[in-house]
């Protein structure tokens, strides 16, 4: 295993150094100096939201994109392929249109299984840097529930993604909670069915797991204090033995979140006499917390990896992070790569857990060191006056990346500050 890991890491180092050297050769033309080195430092994190049909996966995706498509509340924004932008904005527009009270986007067909690949970008002056990529799978919830078409290739695709995910989101339909609290026995039945289907897929996961309660706006009547409301929902979920066990097992060495989200926001929709969710004509969509689940992915992954290490290795990495800041861009690239050979670096890569982490080990190592230095509140100098164009460009990229990681971490932190019950277990 170590030999294989070593080969992957070595390949990563060679690729990174080649890319950096390539970026510094003025006679080659093409991208600006440093660009190839930057491109080589953009990792992709795969996220899968596991949820039953009608639980709100598609609308969460559309609303999340709508919220993060511009850097209005954070330094970063999401970019996507033109066709995907059209789909996502189309879903959001249909959802937000109150001229048709009952017109919600239809459910996703199995054939519409699709990877949405988002670039997380931020601007520094006139330059836009892509810091990382987030890959989300959009699929029909029937793949989790319908045993009739067991040979579906789409199901195989879904579970391949689950196995290689860097983060898993368990989607819990807030509408079912509302149904249960309104006295409809179907709500309780479906809630337990949801947990009984999701928990077996999540309990063996080595990556961070968060639970997302959708349709949070439909639960506003539970209690006027939002944290008390979330605590009531948490207690309801914890009454399921499987859910309780999963939280107990996972919260030992990782963050387990309970994130309430509303794709449309408070007051936008209500439940009519027949139990259908209908829009209020005079309301406007004001999504709530939809940006948190995705923003928490990378910080939670790094936190989990660090929590998996013993105190000595953690201290070694923090010391390395302190030195890391003061190195020149090229040296930083080299040392991050070299750290992957050291005991603390190898332990961290193992803790990150996936073969993909090993391939891009030096890239993740650099991101990790930057994020730890950021948490420790350490500042860093800019590239020296003697730095070349490529080094200045890489230095700017690293600064932008650090800001993005800081803003990503701020979102779940703000949620936790406002709703302490969003961290499981919290009693």
């Amino acid at each position: 295993m170590d030999i294989v890991l070593g080969i992957f890491v070595l390949a990563g180092i060679v690729a990174a150094v080649m890319a950096f050297l390539d970026s510094g050769l003025p006679w080659r033309g093409g991208p600006p100096p440093g660009e190839a080195g930057i491109r080589a430092a953009v990792p992709t994190f795969r996220v899968v939201a596991l949820g039953l049909p009608g639980s709100g996966k598609t609308l969460l995706l559309a609303s999340m994109y709508n919220e993060l498509q511009t850097p209005s509340r954070q330094s970063y924004y999401l970019s996507a392929a033109e066709g995907d932008v059209a789909r996502l904005t189309g879903w959001f527009a249909q959802m937000a249109d109150t001229t048709r009270a009952d017109q919600w986007p239809r459910g996703t067909f199995t054939s519409e299984t699709r990877h949405f690949s988002f670039g997380v970008r931020a601007r520094a002056g006139d330059t836009v840097h892509e810091v990382l990529r987030l890959d989300l799978l959009e699929y029909a919830g029937e793949l989790l529930t319908d045993a009739a078409e067991t040979d579906s290739g789409r199901r195989t695709e879904l579970f391949d993604q689950v196995r290689s995910a860097h983060a898993l989101l368990g989607i819990i339909d807030g509408g079912r909670i509302r149904q249960h609290l309104d006295g409809d026995p179907q709500g309780w039945t479906e809630l337990h069915r949801t947990l009984n289907i999701l928990v077996p897929h999540l309990i063996g996961a080595s990556c961070p797991v968060s639970f997302v309660v959708t349709k949070w706006d439909l639960l506003a009547h539970l209690h006027q204090d939002e944290n008390t409301r979330l605590a009531l929902v948490r207690d309801l979920l914890m009454s399921n033995e499987h859910f309780r066990t999963l939280v107990r097992l996972h919260s030992d060495r990782r963050v387990v979140r309970l994130i309430p989200v509303s794709a449309v926001g408070p007051g936008f929709a209500s439940v009519d006499a027949s139990g259908h969710v209908v829009k209020n004509r005079s309301a406007q969509a004001r999504p709530a917390y939809v940006d948190v689940p995705l923003s928490a992915v990378v910080p939670d992954l790094f936190d989990q990896a660090e929590m998996g290490l013993d105190a000595t290795l953690r201290a070694a990495l923090r010391e390395e992070a302190r030195h890391h800041l003061w190195r020149a861009p090229l040296e930083r690239l080299r040392t991050a790569a070299m750290l992957t050979f050291q005991t603390s670096g190898r332990a961290l890569l193992h803790a990150l857990g996936s073969p993909a982490a090993a391939v891009a080990g030096d890239v993740l190592m650099g991101m990790f060191l930057d994020s730890r230095a950021m948490i420790a509140g350490l500042g860093r100098p800019g590239a020296g006056a003697q730095a070349g164009e490529a080094e200045r460009r890489i230095d700017e990229f690293v600064r932008v990346r650090r800001q993005v990681l800081q803003d990503m971490r701020a979102k779940p932190a703000m949620l936790e500050g406002r709703l302490p019950s969003s961290r499981l277990p919290e009693r």
Partner: protein, 213 residues
């Protein structure tokens, strides 16, 4: 007929299919051609036939089933109306979303189809009958085996498997020869291109002629 009960020549019949969800039950194949259903090949429909944006406008897609049979699928999408079910209000699922049908017909062995509107209407009539039965008993419903109906659409037969295999090998050989010659001429490239993503749909979808929908 071959060992699977498939016709050896181009079939001039269409086999209706329907994929839909109910008030509570999720999307599933409710109606599928009997020969596909018999060997479990019907999953190719739910996996690869995508809904269209324009109601009742047909699209045509050529697919290969899991057992390797080429088929052509003429498909259309429709939001279920109150009139479709003979009721006062437009039906919705339990989450308040509209119900949609993904319906059409399958041509066994054909690779090219120019669909006739009348054939799609026939498929819709059959699909709606099955759909009403499904809504009456969503939990107890089992996928129905569709019976064929004579087509007015224009079909062209699929090339025989053996001929196509020979053609593929010939094309691959030519491409390989050109690549090898190219490599010898320019030397080994220092930055090989990364491989592209693997295709998920075995063949392309093409739009239908104007005048539909």
């Amino acid at each position: 007929m071959d060992a699977h009960g498939w016709p050896k020549t181009t079939d001039v019949h269409g086999w209706p299919f329907l994929i839909a969800r109910g008030h509570r039950a999720g999307y599933r194949t409710l109606l599928a051609p009997a020969p596909l259903l018999a060997v479990g090949d019907h999953t190719v429909l739910a996996d690869h036939v995508e809904p269209g944006a324009v109601p009742d406008r047909p699209g045509v897609i050529a697919l290969t089933t899991p057992s390797g049979r080429p088929i052509s699928v003429v498909h259309a999408t429709r939001q279920v109306s109150a009139a479709d079910l003979g009721q006062a209000d437009a039906p919705r699922d339990e989450h308040g979303r509209p119900l949609h049908l993904l319906y059409g017909f399958v041509c066994l062995h054909a690779r090219t189809v120019t669909p006739d509107e009348a054939d799609l209407r026939t498929a819709l009539t059959t699909a709606l009958t099955v759909y009403r039965t499904f809504l009456a008993n969503e939990n107890g419903f089992a996928t129905e085996a569709a019976k064929p109906f004579p087509l007015r659409s224009t079909l062209e037969p699929a090339a025989p498997e053996r001929h196509r295999a020979v053609a593929r090998i010939a094309v691959a050989a030519v491409v390989l020869a050109v690549l090898l010659a190219g490599l010898r001429w320019v030397g080994v490239p220092d930055e090989p291109s990364p491989p592209g993503p693997a295709p998920t749909v075995p063949a392309d979808t093409k739009p239908c002629p104007p005048g539909w929908g």
